[in-house]
């Protein structure tokens, strides 16, 4: 491979911004040029739902700028790639040469073919939910609106719905499929989730095929469903998924399937061009999530700078976390599996408390899980999934946290405490030592303390020592011993 002196990155979203930093961290003298079509600096797309919900403002979601000497060109769109010349052309008319080119063009919201929804000119009060600009558009439309409809019961749709409900709107989610988040959840989890959302001011309609968006003077008024029912809306958010942004790659003659096809080094069919993030398709998968994009950025940076020319991207394990106040939901791996010879399936459902837990185990490894509602084990479960580590011998520990390590410290009755139990850890004083001091004539708490030094360290055993002394006083052990 020839030496790489100039890297051009197309796209200044979360993947592109991270890549610029990863490159800079590895190569001080590398020339890094980043093009971003959006005019403002990189921001954290993951937090847009928090902005929508009013939990974060725009300043809170700005990402760290790449360190110095990254040439950042925002508000500039790359219009063409010339792989033979190794140049890119931009809409400001300039041509930029590269040794390595990384496409981090991301994805765009997909707008379903519905009457009244022209992707090129959405009616007033209708917005997709993808960029900061979209978010602003929704928030502008939400002012004065009362009834919001969200098209799509996937992750983003539900986060948008919850955010709008927090802003006081009545929200209805229209989902074309038979259950919510159908790629991540099973029908049972969807039922509990629907119930939870209802309690938070978000109603859900399943199997709802939207036929048309009805407008009044160019402004959204309602949605008509197949079957004719009309759902009123003065705000409509379209969250029906995204499509990788591959036009540039296609025009350059790169191999594109659902996304830009890349190998284990994130290289496209042109060895000088790479793709990462939402626009890339690795091993048949387009992730559309931040964590894989950042893993990919790391590998590409290693490869391009030569920091680790043999770095490989082996795919990512995906954990989905719904970011919606009042709903704790994590889903990962195969969740729709039923119990069979290969799979152990653990389930615990408590719909009134909004709890749905399901864990799928194969060969002693956790291969899928849904944790909805109270889920104190989510940290453990996620790590087991990530590391493919063996699951606990007592499987219940995957579902209920208090079985793990919360060594019961109930206050026992003094009579039940075994003699050899250490009462005062700080001074290694056992119950029998306290009893002995009593028998030797120490007849008050203070005397027992003086004799044994119990309680003189952290002082935490004071209550227990008092309890034992009380018990000794009430029942002289010599007497009770002869009676038993």
């Amino acid at each position: 491979m020839t030496a790489v002196n100039r890297v051009v990155v197309v796209g200044y979203g979360m993947a592109g911004a991270r890549l610029a930093r990863e490159l800079r961290a590895r190569a001080r003298d590398l020339r890094i040029i980043v093009f971003g079509a959006e005019r403002y600096p990189a921001y954290n797309r993951v937090l847009l739902s928090s902005v929508l919900a009013g939990k974060a403002d725009e300043g809170d979601i700005a990402l760290a700028e790449p360190t110095s000497r990254v040439e950042l060109r925002t508000g500039v769109t790359v219009t063409a790639i010339d792989p033979a010349d190794r140049t890119v052309t931009t809409d400001d008319g300039t041509v930029t040469r590269y040794d390595a080119l990384v496409l981090a063009t991301g994805s765009r919201a997909w707008i379903p073919p519905v009457d009244g929804l022209d992707p090129a000119a959405l009616p007033e009060g209708v917005a997709v939910f993808r960029t900061l600009e979209d978010c602003r558009r929704i928030l502008r439309a939400a002012e004065g609106a009362r009834r919001a409809v969200v098209l799509g019961g996937g992750l983003l749709g539900l986060e948008a719905a919850r955010g709008l409900a927090l802003r006081g709107l009545r929200v209805e989610v229209l989902h074309a499929m038979g259950h919510l988040m159908e790629r991540q959840l099973d029908p049972g989890a969807s039922r509990v989730l629907t119930r939870t959302l209802r309690g938070l001011g978000v109603s859900v309609r399943l199997n709802a095929l939207t036929e048309a968006v009805l407008c009044d003077q160019g402004r959204v008024r309602a949605v008509r469903l197949a079957g004719g029912e009309v759902v009123e809306a003065d705000l409509l958010v379209v969250a029906c998924g995204v499509r990788p942004e591959t036009a540039l790659a296609e025009a350059a003659g790169l191999k594109v399937d659902r996304g830009v096809v890349v190998d284990d080094q994130l290289r496209t069919c042109d060895p000088a061009i790479y793709a990462i993030g939402d626009c890339a398709e690795h091993d048949g998968t387009v992730y559309g999530l931040v964590a894989p994009a950042w893993e990919q950025a790391r590998v590409v940076a290693d490869v391009i700078t030569g920091a680790d020319p043999r770095a490989r991207y082996a795919g990512s394990r995906v954990v989905t976390r719904l970011k919606a106040t009042g709903v704790d939901l994590a889903a990962m791996g195969d969740t729709q599996v039923e119990e069979d010879e290969e799979h152990e399936v653990l389930q615990f459902v408590d719909p009134t408390r909004g709890t749905y837990k399901k864990v799928v185990i194969r060969d002693d490894r956790l291969v899928g899980a849904i944790l909805l509602g109270e889920n104190a084990t989510v940290g453990t479960v996620t790590q087991l999934f990530d590391r493919s580590a063996p699951v606990p011998v007592d499987r219940r520990a995957l579902l209920f946290a208090d079985l793990r390590g919360q060594a019961a410290r109930t206050v026992e009755s003094p009579v039940q405490i075994p003699d050899r139990t250490t009462i005062c850890q700080c001074n290694s004083v056992t119950k029998s030592a306290i009893t002995k001091s009593w028998l030797a004539g120490a007849r008050s708490v203070e005397d027992v303390i003086k004799e044994t030094r119990a309680t003189t360290g952290c002082g935490g055993c004071r209550d227990t020592v008092e309890g034992i002394v009380e018990w000794l006083a009430a029942s002289d052990p010599q007497t009770t011993g002869s009676c038993s």
Binding site: V46, V319, G379, G405, G459
Partner: protein, 717 residues
């Protein structure tokens, strides 16, 4: 209790109604809490009683209660020992012979290899007077740049982060009493219930008043068991957790914006960094559920008075400095430091870990917490010492690097060791032991024949805490008096006497005093004007005021119990936010090493165990090394309670008894580090260093467990 009236030599006559005995109001020899105690001497023995001193409020743990046993231990050294030849055994020699031999070796090696060929290694248990004298001895009598101390394995990350944020490092910038008044306390990587039990009294009191205690620890330790909220963090991910908590503080609207504007700089950059630590990502890195993160932030932010405290768990990592910075960032964002009743603090470990890092036994420092590369500092200290500033060496390398270089062609050929048992306590100890063995000459001053002293060419029997005067600076920055109960046994000398005698043999006798008070007077002048200014502190004031908090720049200055109330010690008076990123642990799990190892202390032992393993009740309580493991790990490997288990890393192994407990994560095992020999935890630990503080990564490395078949083999050295 009123301290007894002092008389000359620090001894007092007991009250009339007591049997004729001498007593001394002093402090415990072990940890940085420096519990107040009264020692009483009778014909038969020395007894210990706790004092109602502001640190321990009348409490003592078993280590303190039994501390006097070591004074009369049969294992005490009472005569110098020397090895006639490298391959000969240690034999008793006279003091004159021993000191002559040390001086001759220093002169020989210096002549052959230059002054840096002689190195000095100190400890955080030495008094201020000794730490100061040791630093001066190295720079003036030896002329070597190579001096450092075991505090690098202890306090250096918190110190570096503290200086970065506040311009100065004092463990707690407020008195302990403030902790009892706090409404929320976050304790990161500290098991005080075992490491300094009387400290728990402050936490218990805070809880009794309705305060919340949040403990961040991979283990459900006795301290975590007392917590309102235990965040069972994955080893080595505390930094990500702290960034995640700050992220939540921002998005939940908990920032103290007025404080940030008035008293800090650099928030915007930190805000951008933590934007990437949203709760779900933080959960995936740390294993701490989102709901618990939210609860932790809520408890801290809604408290009127809140504190964030760190200890070795957060600090002893290859990113320990950045981890502390992340926690300080959180504290600053919530407006805690320099606000009465609130703040950030670090819990110093060793008895004089605080004072020991202020007076020049660190490679890059001069007394008063001055930098050795600062021309003004060099000029000031050189004036006090009566030498030419240009004659002072520059900065040397840090502890692990120093030990790593011992006996190498470019490294030191001789080492003088005071107050440390480094072949047990240093990371990658097997390697360090090899380095020590390769020295041309090793002299060790110690109380007993420690694992390291056994390797020495000359061993000098040193006095113990109850046999000497001096000052200690505890975890609050409170300067305390260590008082002498009686003279050392015949044949034993104080470290100050040893250093002064060596200095005299090297032609610098006039510059070194063996009298603690004289040394302290000089230390006052040397520290004057520095960040840790002791110039207004006198022995008399310490007695009269239950200790004096530095900085104390004049005798009529009250001392500084609470720092930063008006300004921070930075040039512009503002605290600095420092943007820091999570990094993976230096050594992560793989198929051959599927478990994290974390190390730490148990209640009954202290540091390398050189002292506590020689006190019978403590040894009886915990007689041998053990390894804590989760029941699932035990079941998978067929390990039963009490089985002997080998803990194996890429560097070495340690053998210990299995202790099966569900208080530990099932991906983590725990080894205490108090033993040498086959049970030495530091044969296993990773010396990967923090780039700023040079702190080794004691708290996490990757290991596997192997069950040992001969169940009858012992593990204690």
């Amino acid at each position: 209790m009123k301290p007894p009236q002092p008389t000359i030599g620090g001894m007092v006559q007991a009250a009339d109604h007591l049997a004729p005995a001498l007593e001394a109001a002093t402090h415990c020899p072990y940890c940085a809490l420096q519990c107040g105690m009264v020692l009483r001497r009778s014909e038969a023995d020395v007894t210990v009683q706790p004092r109602n001193f502001p640190t321990n409020r009348g409490g003592l743990c078993q280590k303190g209660w039994t501390s006097a046993e070591l004074l009369t231990s049969a294992e005490r050294l009472t005569t110098p020992l020397a090895r006639p030849r490298k391959d000969a055994d240690l034999e008793p020699v006279s003091w004159a012979e021993a000191l002559d031999r040390v001086a001759a070796e220093i002169r020989r090696i210096r002549a052959a290899h230059g002054p840096d060929a002689v190195a000095v290694f100190g400890g955080g248990g030495l008094t201020n007077e000794k730490a100061y004298t040791l630093g001066k001895f190295a720079r003036v009598a030896l002329g070597t740049a190579n001096i450092d101390y075991n505090g690098r394995f202890c306090m250096s990350s918190a110190a570096a982060a503290g200086i970065r944020a506040f311009g100065v490092d004092r463990g707690l910038p407020f008195p302990l009493a403030d902790i009892a008044e706090a409404d929320a306390i976050l304790l990161a990587g500290s098991n005080v219930a075992e490491t300094m039990p009387p400290f728990m009294r402050y936490l218990t009191e805070a809880k009794r008043r309705g305060g919340a205690l949040i403990v961040v620890d991979p283990r459900h330790t006795p301290t975590a068991q007392q917590a309102t909220l235990h965040l069972r963090v994955t080893p080595g991910t505390d930094l990500a957790l702290a960034n995640g908590l700050l992220h939540l503080a921002i998005t939940e609207g908990y920032l103290d914006k007025d404080y940030i504007a008035r008293r800090t700089t650099g928030f915007e950059e930190v805000r951008r960094v933590v934007a990437e630590y949203w709760p779900e990502r933080t959960e995936r890195i740390t294993g701490v559920p989102v709901a618990q993160q939210r609860e932790a932030v809520r408890l801290l932010a809604e408290a009127e008075r809140a504190m964030i405290l760190t200890a070795r768990g957060a600090e002893q990592q290859s990113k320990g400095t950045d981890t502390v910075s992340a926690l300080i960032n959180l504290a600053l964002a919530l407006g805690l430091p320099g606000t009465p009743g609130s703040g950030y603090g670090c819990l110093t470990g060793q008895g004089n870990g605080q004072g020991g890092r202020e007076h020049g036994q660190k490679a890059d420092q001069l007394p008063g917490y001055r930098r050795i590369d600062d021309p003004a500092a060099r000029a000031h200290v050189a004036r006090v010492w009566g030498v030419d500033p240009d004659s002072l060496p520059g900065p040397g390398v840090s502890a692990y690097e120093l030990l790593d270089a011992l006996g190498t062609p470019a490294g030191p050929k001789a080492l003088l060791l005071f107050g440390s048992n480094l072949v047990v306590s240093a990371p990658h100890a097997r390697h360090v032991e090899e380095r020590v063995r390769s020295l041309e000459f090793l002299a060790v001053a110690d109380v007993v024949l420690s694992e390291t002293a056994r390797l020495a060419d000359v061993v000098l029997p040193a006095a113990q805490w109850a046999e000497e005067e001096g000052t200690m600076t505890n975890l609050e920055g409170r300067v305390l008096r260590r008082r002498r109960l009686h003279e050392p046994p015949p044949g034993v000398r104080t470290d100050l006497e040893i250093i002064a005698a060596l200095a005299a043999r090297l032609g610098h006798g006039a510059r070194f005093s063996a009298e603690p008070r004289a040394v302290f007077e000089e230390l006052r002048r040397a520290s004057a004007g520095g960040p840790a200014d002791y110039s207004g502190i006198t022995y008399e004031r310490i007695e009269a005021e239950d200790g004096v908090f530095w900085p104390c720049p004049a005798e009529d200055h009250p001392g500084t119990p609470r720092m930063f109330l008006d300004r921070f010690a930075t040039p512009d008076g503002r605290a600095r936010f420092v943007p820091v990123e999570h990094r993976e642990v230096a050594e992560d799990l793989d198929a051959a090493h599927p478990l994290y190892l974390t190390t730490g202390r148990v209640l009954h032992h202290y540091q390398s165990g050189a002292q506590t393993r020689r006190v019978k009740p403590l040894l009886d309580a915990v007689p041998e090394p053990f390894v804590q493991l989760h029941p699932d790990v035990a079941e998978r490997l067929g390990i039963a309670e009490d089985d002997l288990v080998r803990v194996v890393s890429r560097r070495g192994e340690a053998t210990a008894r299995a202790r099966i407990t569900d208080t530990i994560r099932d991906d983590t095992v725990f080894l205490p580090f108090h033993w040498g020999g086959a049970g030495r935890a530091n044969s296993v630990t990773n010396p990967a260093l923090d780039p700023t503080s040079r702190m080794p990564e004691f708290k996490v490395c990757a290991v596997r467990l192997e069950k040992l078949e001969q169940a009858d083999a012992g593990v204690a050295p």
